[in-house]
């Protein structure tokens, strides 16, 4: 916050020196700051201050019942580093994120299918997009019912094919993949729409030229469409991975992190650490790790967006 104030003060002084005697300019600056003030105040209190505060808590003891908050250095980080459940949550997060590339392939296929000039295709696009806007708890509930061991529709289909039933959410080996399936289903519509915009931005003259050169459908896709979609793909990959680390609702409703921590992810570990066990300092240390991870991914994403023409 001080940094912002300092920047603001300095630039005001510098600006003032340059534009002395220009009341119109001063009025414009004052007016603009009035327009900025509400959002700036909010960002200061709920984003910028919390970042500094988060770092501070993570290296201090924070007990709601004790007034003293001594500096403890990296003790909380050592504690989570020695906690196998923390590492389990990190590993689960890494596995969980793998639904993203699979989902992207499905989304690209969906976009190609929905890019056809067919009657009523717009309605189908909206239908494919529906899960993305739907209430996540509702989605979690219906999928829990679909994946039910004894009475779920999915196992009924398996039984009809004479395949063994699977206890999707009750088996530590299948619980995480089941959540990945639901996540992919839920976000497919978003990725499809972004791919669709990418497809429609490809100049048709390029495809026409490829066709005249004798390229078949597959060759046109591989040599023209796929390379043109590369920036969109990279963007979606990184966005998807970032999102995958935000996933909370599905875990909270469908598995509660279980069975035997098979679906514990970082956010779901932070939540009880802080609000059940009241270890805000340890939860802060975990949050710092999560924050660093996501900042790294975001920085990567921004570099890609900057390097490529951002027309996605």
């Amino acid at each position: 916050m001080l940094a912002v104030a300092a920047i603001g003060g300095l630039s005001a002084v510098e600006w003032h020196a340059r534009h002395l005697n220009r009341p119109a300019r001063i009025r414009e600056t004052l007016g603009a700051w009035v327009f900025i003030a509400p959002s700036l105040a909010h960002l200061l209190v709920f984003t910028i201050a919390p970042v500094a505060f988060l770092l501070w808590i993570s290296v201090h003891d924070w007990d709601l019942l004790v007034a003293a908050r001594p500096f403890v250095g990296l003790a909380h980080f050592r504690e989570i580093g020695a906690d196998p459940l923390f590492w389990r949550a990190l590993r689960n997060g890494r596995v969980y994120a793998r639904y993203v590339p699979v989902e992207m392939v499905a989304a690209l296929a969906a976009a190609l299918v929905l890019d056809q000039p067919l009657k009523g295709i717009k309605v189908l696009r909206v239908v494919v997009f529906l899960p993305y806007v739907a209430s996540t708890v509702a989605i979690a509930l219906v999928w829990q019912w679909l994946l039910h061991r004894d009475f779920g529709l999915l196992n009924a289909a398996l039984a009809a094919l004479h395949l063994p039933r699977v206890d999707w959410l009750g088996n530590p080996r299948t619980a995480l993949p089941a959540l990945m399936l639901v996540s992919a289903w839920g976000q497919l519509g978003y990725m499809m729409v972004v791919y669709l915009a990418g497809l429609q931005a490809i100049p048709s003259s390029l495809l026409e030229a490829a066709r005249l050169d004798g390229a078949g459908t597959w060759q046109r896709f591989r040599l023209v469409v796929w390379p043109m979609l590369r920036p969109v793909s990279v963007y979606l990959l990184l966005t998807g991975i970032i999102w995958s680390f935000h996933g909370f609702t599905l875990v909270y409703v469908m598995t509660e992190g279980g069975p035997s921590h098979a679906t514990d992810v970082l956010v779901y570990t932070i939540y009880p650490t802080a609000w059940e066990f009241r270890r805000f300092d340890v939860a802060a240390a975990m949050s710092v790790v999560l924050c660093a991870l996501l900042l790294l991914l975001t920085a990567l994403q921004w570099r890609v967006l900057k390097a490529e023409p951002a027309d996605a």
Binding site: G8, S11, A12, H16, E28, T29, G31, A32, F35, I36, P38, F46, T47, P50, V51, L114, Q116, L118, V127, V128, F129, L130, P131, V133, S135, T136, V137, A138, L141, V142, W145, F151, G152, N155, A156, A159, W185, V193, V194, A197, S204, R220, F221, T239, I242, F245, F248, T249, Y252, V267, I270, Y271, W275, F280, A283, S287, C291, L295, W302, A312
Partner: protein, 276 residues
């Protein structure tokens, strides 16, 4: 890739693929609806019946009064409404200032806003909660709506939107003696309506779907939002799937209505560099 004259069989195959895809996406919703009309014990069959033998509409009033869902609905509407108003107003004002005004400190300030866009809010739950707690706002409506009242991405979207609009009309209004505030409200805002609609829609849907912050900041059942209410209903009536599905449908309907009414603005927003 539009084909000039796709052969008939190919067109049919294309249709089939599109319909199959749409079916896979809508099937869980239809299953939710069908189960919500079944008898409590009817669902316990393997294989399950696809449709209820006799639609049982009483499931809805029964399930939705087993917990105070009307109250949860009100709380969700308050949260979503405050989020929409807060984000739209601040995005319009700050976006306009960044797009139209040359003022002292603009460049560094813009850098600060860009920086906040990078910070993942999910990692800030602990300090945000402790700050809200220090303000005495835990378990209040103000605490519930506080953290998402401003969204940096909305400010950027509106800045882009204002930059894409011509300035002529604003200048003409100024020559006619309009004040800066009048130029903003009467000239710039009406032109920016599509951009504002996009911000409003995303704000509404994000707020409607949010669960983690409401769980953290609200203790009393009186302030529970719909998502949290349905989640706790799931814990209470674990064995009654028709009731659970009825509650799920109830949680879906408002947000789907908003989306269907405004899906054009929504999809346009996504295409308009509007990814978040």
């Amino acid at each position: 890739m539009p084909e000039l004259r796709a052969p008939r069989t190919r067109r049919l195959a294309g249709y089939a693929a599109a319909l199959l895809l749409a079916a896979a996406m809508i099937a869980p919703f239809l299953w939710m609806l069908s189960t919500s009309l079944m008898d409590e014990f009817e669902v316990y069959q393997a294989p399950p019946p696809l449709l209820p033998a006799m639609p049982r509409f009483e499931n809805y009033p029964e399930a939705l009064t087993a917990l105070p869902f009307a109250l949860y609905l009100r709380n969700s509407l308050i949260l979503a409404g405050a989020t929409v108003v807060g984000q739209v107003v601040t995005a319009a004002m700050a976006g306009y200032a960044f797009a139209r005004h040359r003022f002292a400190g603009r460049a560094p300030l813009f850098g600060v806003y860009l920086g906040t866009l990078m910070v993942p809010g999910i990692a800030l739950l602990v300090p945000r909660f402790l700050i809200v707690d220090a303000m005495g706002l835990v378990d209040t409506v103000a605490g519930l709506v506080s953290v998402e009242l401003v969204a940096a991405w909305g400010i950027f979207l509106m800045r882009q939107y204002f930059l894409s609009l011509p300035r002529d009309m604003e200048d003409a209004a100024r020559l006619d003696g309009a004040s800066e505030w009048q130029v903003f409200v009467r000239v710039a805002l009406p032109l920016a309506r599509p951009g504002l609609a996009t911000v409003a829609l995303f704000a509404f849907i994000d707020a409607w779907k949010s669960l983690l912050w409401p769980l953290i900041v609200v203790r009393s059942p009186d302030l529970r939002v719909l998502e949290a209410g349905v989640a706790s209903f799931h814990g209470l009536y674990y064995a009654n799937w028709p009731w659970q599905m009825a509650a799920a449908v109830a949680a879906l309907v408002p947000v789907l209505l908003v989306f269907l009414l405004a899906q054009r603005a929504f999809l346009r927003g996504l295409a308009f560099g509007g990814f978040k």
